[in-house]
């Protein structure tokens, strides 16, 4: 049997495991990590099942602040909303993302959450709420969703019958890699509707 030098230290294994936390950087919460593993592969049902179970367990413990999920509770909550949204459960997703918005989270995470909530509300036809959620975006925004925010803003204006207000955000998207074609078409519609 070969024992590597590192593992040789652990002949009395409890001691080895207990006294060698630096052996590797441990993922903060294995079960959250497991949910991410499934979500990364597009298996949102499995991801939700695991994350739901982890949240249920987290809420049952006597001292949640000692639970391994606690340091990542905002990320996990956000991921829960994200997975629910991707699994087309936007009713539940809205609640989870709202919880992130109310929590003390990083500015970028909060802005990302506000955008996703606005998108859900847009899909549900709640245009005023969607615009209100977009107005909550303040400060740094993840680069990946900058264009999405403008596009959604323009779409809300168009859906609400305010083509004039949609023109400015659509003009901003004329050079967007992702939205240039859609934006050009919608800009034409906006000009037509605006007379």
């Amino acid at each position: 049997m070969r024992l590597t030098p590192i593992k040789s230290i652990g002949l009395t294994v409890t001691a080895f495991l207990a006294t060698s936390p630096a052996l590797c950087d441990k993922p903060e919460d294995l079960y959250f990590g497991e949910a991410v593993y499934y979500a990364n592969q597009g298996f949102y049902f499995e991801a939700l099942e695991r994350l739901d179970a982890e949240f249920a367990q987290h809420h049952e413990v006597d001292e949640p602040n000692l639970d391994s999920l606690f340091p990542h509770i905002a990320d996990a909550q956000f991921s829960l909303g994200d997975f629910e949204l991707r699994y087309r459960m936007h009713h539940r997703a809205g609640r989870a993302i709202s919880a992130v918005l109310e929590g003390a989270v990083d500015e970028m995470v909060r802005n990302d959450a506000a955008y996703r909530l606005a998108r859900i509300q847009f899909q549900k036809g709640q245009m005023t709420d969607a615009m209100h959620s977009l107005e909550r975006i303040d400060g740094r925004v993840p680069a990946a969703i900058e264009d999405d925010i403008e596009f959604l803003r323009a779409n809300i204006h168009l859906a609400e019958g305010r083509p004039a207000a949609a023109i400015a955000p659509l003009e901003n998207l004329q050079h967007s890699k992702q939205f240039a074609a859609f934006a050009a078409y919608n800009l034409g519609i906006a000009f037509l509707q605006n007379g």
Binding site: V13, L23, P27, Y37, N40, Q41
Partner: protein, 176 residues
């Protein structure tokens, strides 16, 4: 066409338009209701699946003997993990061949539950073999053996797998 005929025709057209609009409205409401029902069903199914998983875990892996082995890959790793084999006390416990999608999921922060099983309390030996390809294309296979102590509570072991480097082992273990 007489005036009466024209009036009747106009009424029919107007009636048709109103009926069509109300049918669209009804259809929209029905769709929203259906969407709500689908979401409720999805939520129920998730709850049932979660309960079943918990039940299965409790029945198959009682906490006194439960062991779970998880695998993660550091984010900055560029090696390609092909397969992992686990032996516990010399007996094959599990092996897994990784697809590109699974590897990508691991590299993006995912943690895979590789094995769930039962071992009695006391000392045990865990042997881990991983094979893969380094960035340069060189194939490698690495095996490491660890010992661990199983207590009365469930044991979760985490394996962190990295490409072999100078003077360091690619397989690291920790208890969670």
């Amino acid at each position: 066409m007489s005036r009466l005929d024209r009036a009747l025709l106009s009424l029919l057209i107007a009636g048709g338009l109103v009926a069509s609009a109300s049918a669209e409205k009804l259809s929209g409401e029905q769709m929203r209701s259906l969407d709500g029902q689908v979401q409720e069903i999805k939520s129920d199914v998730l709850g049932i699946a979660s309960e079943l998983s918990n039940l299965e875990e409790r029945l198959l892996y009682p906490s006194g003997t439960q062991i779970a082995i998880f695998v993660s890959v550091p984010a900055d790793e560029t090696f390609r993990l092909d397969a992992v084999q686990i032996h516990i006390n010399g007996e094959p416990a599990t092996h897994h061949i990784y697809s590109y999608k699974e590897l990508e999921a691991l590299q993006n922060g995912g943690v895979q539950r590789l094995y769930s099983g039962n071992v009695p309390t006391g000392g045990h030996e865990l042997s881990v073999t991983m094979s893969g390809k380094q960035k340069g294309g060189t194939e490698f296979t690495e095996t490491d053996t660890f010992t661990f102590e199983k207590g009365v509570e469930p044991l979760a072991l985490g394996l962190t797998l990295a490409g072999p480097g100078l003077g360091k082992t690619g397989i690291q273990i920790g208890e969670w």
